[in-house]
């Protein structure tokens, strides 16, 4: 007997303006299967899944759910058919309890008896091996718990088909292992799970089958057991890619930046950084590992002079830079590029062209009150050429229209072009595909060899361990320890990220 097709999408096309986001894409997912959707950034994974969850409607093609052809006009239709989407960024109300969040948006009945709901939640938890306290407030939860709550929320609404958009991005290795357990038990209960990801290791570990998308087309669907990583990369990128990350040792290291006993408070007078001390040398890449929100953003902002410091000192080439204006710090050669979740938010202005973005940090050094764009246009051309940025022009073409990889290259290119002494880069490969990521790693290595001190705040532990000379692990605003990647295991770093000190 052939298993029932939970999802069948055939010949799906979707265009945004003149861009074909999906072109004749087909995808079949069976009940009781974990199906990975793999593809580079911009390959059309999210567009495809948004059509499945009713956010977009396809221009052509058809969708069948459990053997029935359907047409969605809103996410409501999709939920009614048992499709649940778990977004990368949790959609939860912080001040409410788990139970209240589950109840939100549920239209089954106007009044819901609280004890009945608790019973129902317990039943779902038992069935799938989940664990949650229904009366715990969301803001008290760890990232892993929040994700569990999201899963329970969609299961409570009767989802049999789960779509997970990069679910592991914010988790520690231990939490990822737990998540995979949950996914396996859901699979055993007959759920169909689609996991969107670009982390190949996870694809190999968890999925039964993989569908690879490239440039909006579905390339192929293969059984995970029958392929290896290199084949998948080749399918994704279209050519074989060198996966090695170089790590060259620079012999002559000079102390550049010294952070001493740094404590930073947030607006609620809670310590977001607590007595941080470390030293950054020229000619090294110092990695910062930690689950999202462990103080990564705060340390960047503290060094860049963007946030008031409660206690402690930051020495740059022997001079305390606490209290200096962000501009003075930029002038000293400390450059920061922070890629936030939405990529554009903090480093670039989406509606401006490359030229205008390139001068963002230097324009104030020009003389007089007028702007000189010629110089910056020249610089923009140089960066575009050096980093192979694909753009029709450096003038009058807003950077937000560039692809994610090119946007990030503009940002990093600007910081590098200023010949910094210290380069702070937070999540520089966020959302980038393998090929583009490696180009960024090469650029960082190049800087390191030139004697720049690079502070690299990363998400992927594998990358941190391969790229960085030392890795500093953050947890809850404290440094749990600084390790040499060669002498520790990934699991040990994972434990430190979860708050265990290792001496």
């Amino acid at each position: 007997m052939e298993p029932v097709k939970a999802i069948e999408m055939k010949g799906i096309s979707k265009a945004f303006g003149s861009v074909m986001a999906n072109e004749n894409v087909s995808l079949t997912v069976y009940n009781g299967e974990i199906h990975a959707l793999l593809g580079e950034n911009g390959a059309g994974k999210s567009t495809l899944m948004n059509m499945l969850s009713g956010i977009y409607t396809p221009d052509s093609g058809f969708i069948s759910i459990q053997g029935e052809q359907v047409q969605f006009t809103s996410p409501k239709d999709s939920i009614a058919l048992g499709i649940g989407m778990i977004h990368q960024h949790f959609k939860l109300v912080d001040v409410m309890t788990a139970k209240e969040n589950i109840m939100l948006g549920d239209k089954r009945s106007f009044f819901t008896k609280s004890s009945d709901l608790t019973k129902e939640i317990r039943a779902i938890c038992d069935k799938y091996g989940l664990d949650i306290d229904p009366d715990k407030k969301v803001y008290e939860m760890s990232v892993g718990e929040k994700q569990t709550l999201e899963i329970i929320k969609v299961l409570y609404r009767g989802a049999k088909i789960l779509i997970m958009d990069e679910p592991t991005a914010v988790l520690t290795p231990q939490e990822i292992a737990r998540l995979f357990q949950i996914m396996r038990s859901m699979k055993q209960q007959g759920c169909a799970i689609v996991i969107i990801t670009h982390k190949l290791g996870e694809v190999m570990e968890i999925s039964d089958r993989v569908t690879v998308l490239r440039k909006g087309r579905s390339l192929d669907t293969v059984n995970t057991g029958e392929v290896d990583m290199n084949t998948l990369i080749e399918m994704m990128v279209g050519k074989a890619v060198d996966m090695e990350i170089n790590k060259e040792k620079v012999a002559d290291k000079q102390k550049l930046l010294e952070v001493d006993n740094l404590t930073v408070e947030n607006a609620e007078h809670k310590n977001v950084l607590e007595e941080i001390s470390f030293t950054l040398y020229g000619g090294e890449i110092l990695g910062v590992a930690g689950v999202a929100g462990s103080g990564q953003k705060e340390i960047c902002e503290a060094i860049a002079g963007l946030t008031p410091v409660k206690k402690g000192r930051i020495f740059f080439e022997g001079e305390n830079i606490i209290g200096k204006s962000p501009r003075d710090i930029i002038k000293k050669g400390i450059r920061m590029g922070f890629i936030p979740e939405d990529r554009l938010g903090m480093g670039l202005v989406g509606n401006m062209d490359i030229t205008d973005n390139v001068m963002l940090k230097d324009y104030h050094m020009q003389r007089g009150i007028f702007l000189n764009r010629a110089e910056s246009a020249e610089k923009a051309e140089r960066i575009v050429e050096k980093l192979d940025i694909l753009t029709p022009s450096v003038r009058n073409y807003p950077v937000k229209k560039l692809s994610g990889g090119n946007i990030q290259k503009v940002l990093l290119g600007r910081e590098i072009d200023s010949e910094p002494k210290v380069l702070i880069t937070a999540y520089p490969v966020r959302g980038l595909d393998i090929g583009a990521s490696h180009k960024i790693y090469d650029l960082l290595n190049e800087q390191k060899i030139q004697g720049v001190g690079v502070l690299f705040i990363g998400e992927d532990l594998d990358v941190l361990m391969h790229l960085c000379d030392r890795v500093m692990v953050f947890c809850g605003g404290k440094v749990m320890g600084t390790v040499e990647p060669d002498s520790v295991s990934k699991e040990e770093i994972g434990l430190m990220m979860a708050g265990e000190k290792i001496s």
Binding site: V19, T57, S325, P326, R327, M346, G347, L360, K361
Partner: protein, 357 residues
């Protein structure tokens, strides 16, 4: 099940933009024509009269120009604020405060020579309008208050304050009890150049200055960056509070100058109604021109033609003012509405083909 789909457009060919805009104007004229017909007037005659009323003859052209000048200057003020995404709805109040300050100078220092007096009046109005905009700006910069409601409320305070002056301390003792501020002396009235007061030259200069300010100065660049993304501005080391405050001083200052021009050249005194809605109309014209100062110049002239043409309907055809307002409303509705079609594509969904069995 819905059959209309709406999706964002990324790129739109230039000729399509022109086509959509022309279509919007034609549709608005057709629609306004139907309404006029329904009210029992001949639409062709009405339109002809509107054009004639605004552009036919020297006096009417002058009248149109008189309406265009305050609109252009106020629009420049609004554009500067909107470029920073500071929603300055307080143009009315800033105009009033500018007019008040200019009047104070005009009434108390009339012994000064004419040029000096006029320059002092202009400076006073710029400072007063700027300060009136500074209040919401400093609150936004320091405390993050919402500027929309703040600037709107300040309008009423300014208007009522001028009313108070008109009925109280500044009441003309020679007006036999009629509550009005004394007329300005001849020295406090702006001179004419080619039949229209000198404000039109100021307006043209301000259009050029605003354009250069936004596009070619460091400060203007900062304004744009802050408007696009406060976070990016912060990361680039821009002092956001100071940008907000300086920008609003400029924005309010230009609105205030409008007040001085209206008081001096049009009303020749201070009245509580001299802002004549220019502060609000400027919001429309600023948007219609997409915050481009040069485009705004032409948009404002078109708007003034609409205003003047509408006003002439009342006088010559005995058509109630409300009808003229309605025609203006219809035209604006269509033109602004067409922006939606420039940004979104509306399509009708075809029935999806069944799978071939």
């Amino acid at each position: 099940m819905k059959f209309i789909t709406i999706s964002r457009r990324d790129d739109i060919p230039r000729n399509r933009i022109v086509l959509i805009r022309i279509l919007a104007i034609l549709l608005s004229i057709a629609f306004a024509g139907i309404v006029i017909m329904a009210l029992g007037y001949n639409p062709l005659a009405v339109f002809r009269q509107m054009i004639k009323g605004a552009l036919g003859g020297k006096i009417r052209l002058q009248q149109t120009a008189l309406k265009a000048v305050p609109l252009i200057i106020t629009t420049m003020g609004i554009i500067v604020a909107f470029k920073m995404k500071f929603w300055n709805i307080g143009g009315e109040g800033q105009i009033m405060m500018g007019a008040m300050a200019a009047s104070f100078v005009a009434l108390n220092y009339s012994h000064l020579p004419k040029t000096l007096l006029l320059i002092l009046m202009a400076l006073a109005s710029i400072v007063a309008g700027g300060l009136w905009a500074f209040i919401p700006a400093i609150f936004k910069a320091k405390l993050g208050t919402n500027e929309t409601i703040f600037t709107l409320m300040l309008n009423y305070i300014a208007i009522k304050f001028v009313t108070f002056l008109q009925y109280g301390p500044w009441k003309d003792p020679t007006s036999q009890g009629y509550p009005k501020v004394p007329d300005f002396t001849a020295k406090a009235i702006l001179p004419n150049v080619f039949g229209v007061h000198i404000g039109w030259i100021i307006a043209i200069i301000l259009v050029i200055v605003t354009y250069i300010f936004i596009n070619h100065t460091k400060k203007g660049y900062e304004v744009t960056v802050v408007g696009e993304s406060v976070d990016t501005a912060r990361y680039a080391g821009i002092n956001i509070q100071s940008v907000i405050i300086v920008t609003m001083l400029i924005s309010g200052g230009m609105c205030g100058l409008t007040g001085m021009i209206q008081a001096s050249a049009i009303e020749k005194t201070l009245t509580a109604s001299l802002s004549a809605n220019y502060g609000f109309s400027a919001i429309t014209t600023a948007w219609l021109s997409r915050l481009n100062a040069v485009a705004a110049f032409f948009v404002c002239i078109c708007f003034a033609i609409l205003l003047q043409g509408g006003a002439s309907l009342q006088i010559t055809m005995n058509i109630p003012a409300a009808v003229a307002d309605m025609i203006q409303g219809i035209i604006l509705f269509f033109v602004l509405g067409s922006e939606f079609f420039l940004q979104y594509k509306v399509g009708f969904r075809k029935r999806l083909a069944k799978e071939e069995a």
